[in-house]
Symmetry: C2
Subunit: 354 residues, 2 copies
């Protein structure tokens, strides 16, 4: 494509600090590989915007960013000032749902220079993808409260799984498994306890598996699956889960590889009918915001995922390689990884390696 | 009490193999501390019973075991022969719900002789309780399927949280935290994503905390909380969660301490209106059943929890001490822990230590 237009939304907290480093790496990779990217900056989807306008985003947010090729997103949320279910449902969750980004994709990979909390694991031992359903399931807006402020008070919230929603995420996950050397897919379930929706999920997995005879697949209940992430992270290749289970596994996975501070993610609309959102797994971390110490690798790696999604595989690979080399040097890593660099120094190091 | 009557239900698979060792330890501790326990054996809540009678339990199961002082339970389920949501909802989940065992209590403790998958952790570093709501929440029976076998097909399942249900589990958890030296409670939430029930949970935690000014409390979203279990297991003292979150955390916690093979659990009705059920965390493990290699420690430790619940603290402590000493010796541990003993040898070792 002659030119990619990227919507840039730093958001809150350390989102604003890691974003410049994400852009720096993107620019370096774009220059090197002659990819033409243009950035448009937006200040909404942030607490500051909310404080001024009483809502997280302008009414015409879809017109503003809906025609971009992708959205590069920092982090949103500031629980002390605004409840998460307002800030997030007013921004990130809206993107996912209204841009039909039904795939949430996150790598779990043990990188050089990042100490794993698991005993005896080294780079290469852990390398898999978590594929998470990103639009329905447990994150539903159906439910409510009855008998408020009495002893009979209760709340309900429905988990909703549609055939459309379940089948398309499974298809994406099986396709991904099919494309990898191990061709192995693991499904996260809890059909022994969540007795209506989860048996349905299992049923659809079984049906979908028939179309992929070359993919070896298995399933685990989410409770024991989290245990296996810790005890046997080498078992996995592609792990697919519902919105909630995928959410849990894609924080736990990166924790098993040392930190969620460096993990990237894509909120993807595979058909390209809408822009996809790329963001670090970490949140806005108000507790360390403003100190210049945030680790920018999650943001930078998200930029690589974005380039990959746009079809610029070489540019993407050059960023990932630069990340690996940067993490390998103690002076260039940030302090959360036992290194010495601040946010900017780490980001500049990556850009120079590119 | 002059005599305790215990209902003994071995269940399926390795449940039948570890149960004799659980009873052996109980008998030894009872003898030593002059506690009078009588065991009544039942064959229901098993696949064998189901194969004969077409249901998991007799119609009058409540009369049969409802007057016992406690229920000592092995493990149930045999997925190849009977779907989990039939076997479990026809037995274990019925106990929990119809005997109003609203507390599921599980220790997470790093024991001597059990290699932790986490680097650099040693016995004493990890020692906390997971308190799980055990009757409502995500394990609900409300929901269904619409438009079956069409493209519009969808399923729903409601999460249900009642004020009664939430408040009583929180009270139990705060009481437990209050009784421990650290007086620290952590609540598992996901109010940023599960936007109706989980904010309600948070609201009730905040309200309950007011009655416990001495308890320091915090909350984490379940995704990052699973990460903290791996990265900072020393942070926790009492962790309270909904039915699903508690389920996940009480498998993940034991995995972080090396194995779910030794973890015990209690399904408790604190008021004593109904008998409580004590069972190992592990399942029936059909894949290793019949080989005599199952680790009996989870069953034996569950027996200690049962004695503790009955008020026989000394007898309970003598079992836990014997477990620690047995695990400390390689020749007495089972092979899953790098030891040499089979199920019976390990169980006999514990009984002798008592
Ligand atoms: C077997 C299953 C229904 C059960 C649960 O999820 O409650 C088990 O995992 C447990 O933790 O006791
Ligand atoms: C912030 C929150 C709503 C979000 C989620 O649960 O989806 C986050 O944890 C994530 O994984 O992107």
């Amino acid at each position: 494509k002659s030119e990619y237009r990227i919507a840039v939304i730093p958001g809150d907290g350390i989102g604003k600090e890691v974003m410049p480093e994400g852009l720096r790496a993107l620019e370096a990779a774009a220059k090197k590989h002659r990819v033409n990217v243009k950035f448009d900056h937006f200040d909404f989807a942030s607490y500051d915007y909310y404080a001024k306008h009483g809502q997280m985003m302008p009414d015409d947010w879809k017109e503003k960013i809906g025609m971009h090729d992708a959205i590069f997103f920092g982090a949103v949320g500031w629980p002390e000032k605004i409840p998460d279910h307002i800030s997030l449902w007013g921004s990130l969750i809206k993107f996912r749902r209204e841009f039909d980004q039904y795939v949430n994709l996150r790598p779990v990979r043990l990188m050089p220079g990042v100490p794993s909390p698991l005993a005896g694991r080294k780079p290469g031992d852990i390398d898999f993808w978590v594929v998470r359903e990103n639009t329905e399931g447990e994150y539903s807006s159906v439910g409510g409260r009855m008998f408020p402020d009495t002893d009979r008070e209760f709340v309900t919230q429905q988990t909703v799984m549609t055939r459309t929603g379940v089948d398309r995420i499974l298809k994406f996950a099986f396709d991904l498994a099919q494309s990898r050397p191990k061709r192995h897919l693991t499904s996260a379930t809890k059909s022994n306890g969540i007795s209506i929706t989860m048996p349905y999920w299992d049923e659809r997995v079984e049906a979908m598996a028939k179309a992929y005879p070359e993919v070896k697949w298995d399933k685990y209940h989410i409770d024991i699956l989290t245990a296996h992430f810790v005890l046997h992270p080498d078992w996995f290749d592609v792990v697919v889960g519902s919105n909630l289970f995928g959410d849990i596994l894609s924080d736990l996975g990166p924790a098993c590889t040392g930190t969620i501070g460096i993990a990237p993610s894509g909120n993807i609309n595979p058909e390209g009918d809408f822009p996809s959102v790329f963001e670090p797994v970490h949140g806005s971390a108000p507790d360390i915001a403003g100190q210049g110490i945030a680790n920018p690798i999650g943001m930078i790696w998200s930029g690589a995922m974005m380039l990959e999604h746009l079809g610029e595989k070489q540019a993407a690979a050059s960023i990932v390689k630069a990340i690996e080399r940067t993490l390998g040097e103690r002076t260039l890593r940030t302090r959360d990884l036992g290194g010495q660099a601040d946010t900017t120094a780490c980001g500049k190091a990556v850009a120079e390696m590119i």
